[in-house]
Symmetry: C2
Subunit: 424 residues, 2 copies
């Protein structure tokens, strides 16, 4: 086997004749995978879901003028010149409370005891806050000038009828649910969550969390993939572990493609005699890519069965995580109407040691962060899952870069969600 | 009412005689609220949960030496000098697959066909990758020098028995579940999720998502608080809307405190005649703080009934969000064993316009972000929930600062989770 053949093989690419650029696989996903249909959800279940249609206010919020303070509803002309030396004395003719409005009319020289949020009574056009008053039997003395409009929340001042409040594609925030509630929306239309079938294959695999027995070991990828899929808004269902038998695996993948919006196959994705998954996808549908210039996930693939995207993930757990993050997660996010890119928090750091890569290959490198420095984890082969539990995050050596030097500024994508201080 | 009294009242502090510093309330929460007890969860449900005990590996991972490549298991001495010009010919005596080991011994001049992850057969100490071989009937010719140990994943190389793999307090990542699975852990001990009762009070309130009728409006805070509590790892239960009647509200709060790990009361938290919540907490337990120097959430409070923390949240929705983020969320996070601070992503920006504050008061200011500039939302009163749906995030004017100038560098806490590109 001469130099010619050597060069055609990536050291981690095993038996692939050629490896597809990561960017080509991403572009294919973006060109072919888009949001699923729409379903209604109850407001209480809508947080984090993706709004499927623009929401326009059907009515003004608030629906009436209301008091912004505890105090007295008055006619501003009566109190606009009031002050400590010249208090305005008003007759208290009733009270207004949230949900219990004052039904009369406030006339000249009159006031209505009012609390925050209560409808402003007819005739009143200002609210004097309680701290600017002195009470006396049946009377209130106003000791602060209070012009027309003061401390009144106008009808529609929060949201005017007809306003677009939230746009399609919005990932609903907690406060958005509050706004939708105020708009009278008990249900909202959201993009359906993608049903993702995860087919786990490997004769050696025991159910997750099972101690190893002889040469058989616990499946690690199903629990990891379920959590990743849930993070990206999908609904995961695990099939298997399925034996490395072509007919059995073919049936499992075909059934998964009939009942899911996307299929991920973990294991059997390389080029060996027992790597049945690529051939099965080619057989049942189209195998668009097999072998990607991505370390440590070159035995990854992308295809489709009918309209259902299928992502082939290497069985080695770090490779699986890497291929999920680049390809499968993108499929899940796009099906769910979410942004395509990573949801990891990025930070900048200085590289502590050089990283060798190869031109045309993307490298996914787990790193430790300390004092603004990113330290690559050296014992970080494709099978070393602890490299991804010990790491603070990962960096990527892009395809057009032959490597990185010590001291280079790099972007590190943190595995953990953000935690900040609370400013006070 | 003279200057003396004016100064004692914060304009948003309404009838409070004094307002507690935000830092004092935070310190009290930190001193009195800590993690709940431990419960086991199945691995598949453990993502995002807080690990309650250090996890130590009971066995080596992998549990046996294994192949890191598809190829041939050999004795390294047979092939360490092999090359294209001097291939080493070995007799293929069997095969090893994951879960189906080779049961014999590899002797001198012998090889076993092996795939990635399969146990290394006895006698073998290296793996020649398939690309470095040429097959012939019953034989394999090795054309690449392959020393002892090459392409062998050693027993324990991922995780050695006895290693601490994950520490107590860890928020479990997807890949952590994979590692725990490999360690044979079908269940893991995690901090119990706090049960949080949310008592909603207000005579004017209709159920969430109900169109306004006369002076009655939909409750917005329950759906918002449920989403916030879930985000912070709590299990929310809503009580109400409860009428603004002291006896009714007292019964509701007392019952909530008997059945929850924390109680949040939304509404009735100020100083008016119908603000029953503070008095009820004082009556049933201890009211530790009432009135906080925090705009727009001064009518907030903190207390406890027995051992159960109670947070009083203003009914105005922006105030409610603000008081949740400063105080209630911190209680929920600490009960659940999580970091106390905000989980919002922070970014830096230049302030587009000055912000007036007051010394000793913390201001929570919603801002729009564009081109690295933070633009405060001016129509952002306590009742204007759309200010928190339109905003990209918020900034905080700390208590020791009288205000901020245009051009000041500020930290903005983004309401939305991070979305990045995917590097290729």
């Amino acid at each position: 086997m001469g130099g010619d053949r050597q060069q055609r093989f990536d050291p981690r690419g095993q038996g692939f004749r050629s490896l597809a650029p990561v960017a080509d696989v991403l572009a294919r996903i973006d060109a072919t995978v888009g949001p699923l249909g729409v379903e209604p959800v109850r407001l209480a279940d809508a947080a984090g879901r993706v709004l499927a249609a623009e929401t326009r206010a059907a009515a003004d919020i608030p629906p009436f003028d209301r008091s912004a303070m505890d105090g007295f509803a008055v006619r501003g002309r009566d109190v606009q010149a009031a002050g400590p030396e010249a208090p305005a004395a008003l007759r208290v003719i009733g009270e207004a409370r949230p949900g219990r409005p004052f039904s009369g009319v406030v006339g000249p020289g009159e006031a209505v005891d009012i609390t925050t949020g209560a409808p402003l009574p007819a005739g009143a056009d200002a609210v004097v806050r309680v701290e600017a008053t002195v009470a006396a039997a049946g009377l209130v003395r106003v000791v602060e000038p209070t012009p027309v409009g003061r401390h009144v929340g106008r009808r529609g001042e929060d949201i005017a009828a007809g306003t677009v409040v939230l746009r399609a594609g919005r990932v609903l925030r907690p406060q958005d649910l509050g706004a939708l509630s105020a708009l009278g929306r008990a249900e909202v239309p959201v993009v359906r969550r993608p049903a993702v079938a995860v087919v786990i294959t490997g004769d050696e695999l025991l159910p997750p969390g099972t101690p190893a027995v002889d040469s058989r070991i616990a499946d690690t990828n199903s629990v990891m993939l379920m959590a990743l899929i849930a993070r990206d808004g999908g609904l995961a269902r695990v099939v298997g572990p399925v034996r490395d038998d072509r007919a059995t695996l073919r049936d499992a993948i075909a059934a998964a493609a009939r009942s899911a919006d996307a299929v991920l196959v973990s294991g059997g994705s390389s080029t060996g005699a027992e790597d049945h998954a690529p051939g099965i996808v080619a057989d049942l549908g189209t195998l668009e890519f097999h072998g990607v210039a991505l370390r440590p996930a070159s035995p990854a693939g992308l295809g489709r069965i009918g309209e259902v995207p299928v992502v082939l993930l290497p069985g080695n757990p770090v490779s699986c995580l890497c291929a999920y993050d680049f390809f499968a997660g993108r499929v899940v996010r796009r099906l769910g109407g979410r942004a395509s890119g990573w949801s990891y928090v990025a930070c900048r750091a200085r590289l502590a040691r050089p990283i060798a890569s190869a031109v045309d290959r993307v490298d996914y490198v787990r790193v430790l962060l300390a004092d603004g420095r990113a330290e690559p984890i050296t014992s970080g082969g494709a099978s070393i899952l602890s490299s991804a539990t010990r790491a603070d995050g990962f960096l990527v050596v892009p395809a057009d870069v032959p490597g990185l030097a010590a001291g280079d500024e790099v972007v590190v994508w943190r595995y953990d969600p953000p935690v900040g201080a609370t400013v006070s």
